[in-house]
Each structure stands twice: as C-alpha cells, then as structure tokens.
C-alpha cells in the first residue's frame, strides 16, 4: 500500500462511527510517516500497543521495526485495566495509570517527543474514551494544550473521535481547534464513505467518496491542489452531501 503525503497540517480531527475504518486510515498515515523516517508517537487509548501492532501487521506495517528508534507508544490502557502492577521499563512505551489521569498523558507525550526528537507525528487513538472519565471542559482544555504544543513544534497530529460518545457542541469545539477535519460514515447501504470536511488554507471538495477496507486500492482526490491520498478502496468518488 503506497500513499502520497497528506498535507503537513499540525492538527487533524478524524471522526466517524465505530468500525468505519478510522484506525486503518491512521495506520496508512503512520506507515507513510514511518517509512519517511518521521518520528511517530501513538497514544493508545482504545487498544493496547500489542493490539495496535497486530492491526498494523495486517497492513504490512511492522511497528516493532521502528519502536524505540522513531516510534513510541503512550499506553493508556494496560495499567488502567489492572494488567500492570509495576512501572515497566521500556524504551518504546510510556504508561498512563488511569484514563482520568490526562495530565500524565500530556506529560508522556512531551517526554516521548523529547526522547525521539521534535517534531513528531502524533496519532491519538482515540479521544472518545476519555470523555467517559473526564468532563468536556477539562478535556477541551487538555486538547487545546496538546494541539497547541504540536503546532508550536511544527508537528503533525491526528486526533480520532468516535461518533456518539461526546455531544455535538464538544465535537464542534474540537473541530474549531484543529486545522482540518476528515469525516467517515456509513451510507444507507452501509457502504463506507470518507470526505475532507475542511483543511485550513487548502481548497477541498466536500464530496463523499466510497472506500472499503481490504479491497483494491483506488485514489481519493481530496483537492485539485493537494496530493492524493490512497486508501484501501474499491470505488472512485461519489458525490453527495452528508
């Protein structure tokens, strides 16, 4: 799976329902970044790093090859599930004790970026479970700090949101704090669709395009002025509104 570079914006919100393919798209972007010797930090909230490795392997991406060199994990899950009783020593994984401990997530992102060297590409998968453990005002402030730090250090950040966990107003506020929003959905026939909602400073087409996971690859034209992004897809773009 080859992929052309997604525009190097500092903050991207990727939203859509569970199971639509957000993780797979993130893995595509991660692969592109890692293969281009970029430094990558993955914040694992929904899945453990091991699960993330397994999912990545299915897309021909061996994360272990990069770990401790240009890739680090922030594991928010293992300790909070009681799977860890001690602080493990690892060059590639930093742990967060509970999902309410968002300060530790912030500190660990800073530590990982400092260890790898800045700028880094940050993949936050996902913000949504944090809303079950913290109130929206606190998380919005946390998000503002983290996204500002990514921007300040010329980094690239992808923040994933699952539909239905947080309210629309919170989602809109999060969208306001990033440079671009990519949306995914299932259409009425339960086919997967993707569109660029907006990217600041770049003209984009708001068309929905069908894609599938594991099918043949086709291009999705995001804009006439920015590079194409290849997803694992089977159909070309279909115009439509949300």
């Amino acid at each position: 799976m080859s992929i052309e570079r997604f525009p190097n914006i500092s903050g991207l919100l990727l939203k859509g329902p569970s199971g639509v393919g957000k993780l797979e798209w993130c893995l595509e972007l991660m692969k592109d970044r890692l293969e281009n010797q970029d430094r990558v930090v993955i914040v694992c909230v929904d899945y453990s790093p091991e699960k993330m490795r397994q999912r990545a392997a299915k897309f021909d991406l061996n994360l272990k090859d990069y770990e401790g060199k240009t890739l680090m994990f922030i594991d928010c899950l293992s300790a909070s599930l009681g799977g860890l009783s001690e602080v493990p020593v690892s060059d590639s994984t930093l742990h967060v004790t509970t999902l309410s401990n968002i300060e530790q997530i912030g500190m660990n992102i800073a530590k990982a970026a400092n260890t790898l060297g800045e700028p880094v590409s940050l993949f936050f998968y996902s913000l949504s479970p944090l809303f079950l453990h913290n109130t929206p005002p606190v998380l919005l402030k946390f998000f503002q700090i983290i996204s500002s730090q990514v921007r300040e250090k010329s980094g690239f950040g992808v923040f994933v949101l699952h539909d239905g966990v947080q309210d629309d107003r919170t989602t809109d506020t999060l969208a306001m704090m990033v440079d671009g929003v990519v949306e995914m959905r299932f259409n009425q026939k339960l086919q997967r669709e993707i569109r660029i909602h907006h990217i600041k400073g770049v003209s984009t087409k708001p068309n929905w395009s069908q894609f599938d996971i594991g099918g043949e690859m086709v291009d999705v034209v995001l804009s006439e002025r920015i590079p194409k992004v290849k997803l694992v897809e089977k159909k070309a773009g279909v115009d439509g509104s949300p």
């Binding site: 001690e86 509970t98 309410s100 530790q104 060297g117 005002p137 700090i145």
Partner: protein
C-alpha cells in the same frame, strides 16, 4: 518551629530547612508537569525518617504507586499508608487498609481520609490530586472538603501537600484557593534546547518574610530521587579565540575566581535565561573535545562556538566541533574579532564551514559594547527560551 525536609537540599535551603510543621502546600501547574515527582520525594524522605506518611491517590493503583516509590531506592514501606481511591474505579479488589469505595460519594471520601488521619496520625500527607475532585464536584463541595483536609492536617500537626493542575478554574476561584494555603509551589515543564526541563518556583507567604524564588530546574535520578540543577550553556573554540572574554561579558556574575579554576581550561559564569539561572562554562575546542563532549552533550542546552575570524585555520577546527554535535544541541557560531584587519565575514565563514541555515553565524567584536546581544538572542531563539 520544627521544619519538615522536602528531601531536596536546595529547596530546603530556600525554605529555611523545609516546610514548617502543620503547614499546607499547594503544588500547582497550568499545564502538565512533574508535580508528582516532588510529592513522591517528600514522602520518601518522610518514610526514611521513620515518619508515617499518608498518600491519598485518585490516579494510581496502590501496586503501581508503590512501584513508583521503589524507584527512589530502599525504604521501609510500612511507614507508607496509601488511601486507595483507584481500585474501586476500575472494579479491582484492594488490599489496602483505607479504600474509597465510591469516588462520586464525597462523604465516603471524607470519611475514609478522616479515619486514616485519626488512626495513623501522619506527619506528612499528600492529596493526589485536587483536579480529580474539581472535575467531579461543585466548587462549594470542593472548598468545604479542602478546608476539612486542612483542619485535619493542623489538628494532627501534619504537613499537607495537594497536587493540582488547573484545567478549568477561573482566576478568582484559583486566587481564593491559593490564599488558603501557607505555601504555593508552581510547576511547569519547558523544553530548553534538547532538554525537557522540569521547573518549580516557590511562592512563599510574605508574612513569613520569605520572597518568591526564581524558577528552579529539577530532575529525577534513579536511587537519588529528585535533584535540582542549573541548565548549562557551553562556550567553546580554539585557544585565544576569545572564550574567556565572551563569558565575562555575557555573564552578570563570573564564578571563575570563586573556584580558582581560571587558567585550567575552564571558565564559568551565570546568566539569567527566562528567569532560570543558567550556568555558562568554557571548554577548549582542542583534540580531546569530541570525546569529552560526547559524555555531557545531553546536559547542555546551548553552545556558542567562538571563532577568531582572522584565522582561517580556526575554520577546520570549528567544522570538527560542529560535526561532533551529534545530539544537535542548539549552536551559534560567533565570528569574533571583526574589528581586526583581514577578518572573514559571517557569510564567508558560513561558506567555508559549509554550515546549514539552521546554524546562525553572528559577527562580533568583544571590544565593542553590546556586541553579544545578537549572538545571545540567536541562541536563546534556538533554545526556545527567547
């Protein structure tokens, strides 16, 4: 009044030996920072002094917290009493004596902590942390709880430290909180050069007659625990390039005479960088530079490379020094002695050294007043401290 040591020598010194007994301390930050490291050091110090220490933890399971404490070295854990407010959150069993069964029941929280106070009579208490509660309870309940905790601490003569990252509290609310404590310690984490720096500032009660401190950098060292240090800027270059004069002009206070190090190849001074006292030290750029530098490059926040612009032979030595900067510590080349005839310009030096644009070359002459400002500002910009 007895003082309770923080376990960090230079902080104790600024506090006149530590916090007074029965005092309350707020460890505050506006962004993620290492407050917990400070609190852990405070507890470990107490445990080693055979004092009973109470740690109320809303964020870490007791086993995870204890493993954190073990990083500080050997201690008798019997003196460490943990109020476990985490196990019930993740529906895990707890073996602790004091367990908060429901973090959404303030009576339960207060009752468990009060019981622990009464039975254990702790000399040191940590609440980790107030932001967990602020995110779950109305302000009036928080303030009532807060006053209750401070009353308990005073009654038991305990030093009471509270960790708090202020995500959402408004200034007037925060001011009200700050006014109730005896000491406010402010924390921040800042990257300076390649170093992620933890900083603490002591805001002390004026009634106690002690002033606010500057920002004090601290770090964690395995077995030793928390230690404070000075960030460092290195000044290097060939012999007679002007390193010593550069340091003397740059620094408000030279310390070379204090240590009697002059003439031994090391010059030192201190400078204020973003309210952080920073050490400036000179190192000869001789044959042993590369191997020596490799050992301490990660402790250096920035480098001035001083070149005698009239000596083209300095250029090759300068190239070697730049090449040995493998950690890419922020570096500024200072093209010195521009007042002398035949001096190469900054552009000529850049070309001869084949420097990338990311390394500034700044012309200077140490005989002219104010000449160091452009060089200093260039380095501070690269260090993220300007």
């Amino acid at each position: 009044m007895n003082r309770v040591s923080t376990g960090i020598g230079s902080i104790d010194e600024k506090l006149g030996g530590g916090f007074p007994e029965a005092s309350s301390v707020l460890l505050l930050s506006q962004t993620p920072s290492e407050k917990r490291m400070f609190a852990e050091q405070f507890i470990v110090t107490g445990v080693r002094n055979d004092e009973t220490c109470l740690y109320v933890d809303f964020y870490r399971s007791p086993s995870f917290a204890r493993s954190h404490f073990r990083r500080y070295g050997i201690m008798d854990e019997e003196n460490l009493v943990i109020v476990d407010a985490v196990s019930a959150q993740v529906m895990a069993p707890s073996e602790e004596k004091y367990v908060v069964k429901d973090v959404l029941d303030m009576d339960n929280i207060r009752g468990v902590i009060q019981k622990a106070f009464e039975e254990e009579k702790p000399e040191r208490v940590i609440l980790d942390s107030l932001d967990f509660l602020v995110d779950r309870y109305p302000r009036e309940i928080i303030l009532d709880f807060w006053h209750h905790m401070m009353t308990l601490s005073k009654e038991h003569n305990s030093v009471f430290l509270t960790l708090f990252i202020n995500w959402i509290m408004e200034k007037r609310e925060l001011d009200a909180l700050e006014r109730t404590v005896d000491y406010l310690l402010e924390f921040r984490t800042k990257r300076m050069g390649k170093i992620l720096m933890n900083l603490v500032k002591i805001h002390e009660d004026k009634e106690l007659g002690i002033d606010e401190s500057g920002w004090i950098p601290f770090t964690f060292e395995s077995e030793s625990g928390v230690v404070t240090y000075s960030p460092r800027i290195m000044v290097t270059g060939s012999a007679n390039s002007g390193k010593t004069e550069f340091i003397q002009l740059l620094c408000s206070r030279s310390v070379e005479d204090e240590d009697g190090l002059k003439g031994e190849g090391v010059d030192r001074g201190k400078i204020d960088v973003s309210s952080v006292e920073t050490e400036v030290f000179g190192v000869r750029g001789d044959e042993s530079f590369a191997s020596t530098f490799r050992l301490f490059s990660r402790e250096v926040s920035g480098i001035f490379l001083i070149l005698d612009s009239t000596k083209p032979e300095d250029i090759e030595k300068g190239r070697e020094i730049v090449a040995s900067n493998l950690e890419e510590v922020p570096l500024v080349v200072v093209a010195n002695k521009q007042d002398l005839k035949g001096a190469l310009t900054a552009e000529e030096i850049r070309k001869r050294m084949e420097l990338p644009d990311t390394i500034p070359v700044v012309e200077t002459s140490l005989t002219r007043d104010g000449d160091l400002c452009p060089a200093l500002h260039s380095l501070l910009r690269l260090m993220g401290a300007a």
